[in-house]
Amino acid sequence: MNITAHRDGDGTARLTLDGDLDMATAGSLDGHVVRALTGERPRQLVIDAAGLSFCDSSGIHALVRARDTAHRHGASFVVSNTTGITRRTLEITGLLGTLTTVSPRVTG
């Protein structure tokens, strides 16, 4: 699993995933999410899953945690470009809509 962090001009933090998201690599995503949300606080966190070749429940839980963390930091959240087995597994678990529709930042 390779994770690349980008910061767009419009206040979007983008994490691009490449490889397999599972028990061994979920912790690395957790770390990247926290780093992306601290410092210069983004308005939105986008996780680009185009290069995600595999994702099991450990991976899905990491995506759910990423969403919760983004909301806690006042950022909106979305997983973009899900394909193949990742998309099928998100569908099965009932989380496809939740994770792939932009969930608005909570303003408190």
Binding site: D22, S57, I92
Partner: protein, 141 residues
């Protein structure tokens, strides 16, 4: 119809699911079971079973793969006799059995050497490839 089997030990390690997927996808490929979507589903089931064995099972983790023609059973044994039970999903877990349910035709638990073994039966792999006689010339990835 040919029967082909594989049996191997896995250490209790966070990397066990990934290595197990790598080994089993190659074995299934050798056996002529190469349908991409089916393999993806089978690897997801295997990954859930091994992750659960590492996380909740402990002891010796043993993987068995059996192919009866294009019918495949994936089994993962661990040292705990606790039987897996679905639980409400939260941020830390609870989706594994839901996924196993969705991708298998059935799954069940057997007692196995002081612990247990979870057996997951996959729907038949589409296509027709090598049998024990061997004919397919598809090149491995």
């Amino acid at each position: 119809m040919s029967t082909l089997t594989a049996h191997f030990d896995l250490p209790l390690d966070g990397t066990a699911p990934a290595y197990a997927r790598g080994a089993v996808v190659a074995l299934l490929g050798a056996w002529g079971l190469r349908d991409r979507d089916w393999l993806d589903a089978a690897m997801t089931v295997l990954s859930e079973l091994v992750s659960n064995a590492v996380r909740h099972g402990g002891g010796a983790v043993v993987v068995d793969v059996e192919a009866y023609g294009r019918q495949v059973i994936l089994s993962v044994a661990d040292g705990s006799s606790v039987v897996p039970r679905p639980r409400r999903a939260d941020g830390t877990g609870g989706l594994g059995l839901t996924i196993i349910n969705a991708y298998t035709t059935r799954w069940y638990v057997q007692s196995y050497e002081g612990g247990k073994r979870v057996r997951a039966e996959m729907p038949p792999c589409p296509g027709d490839g090598v049998t024990a006689g061997g004919t397919s010339r598809t090149e491995p990835a």
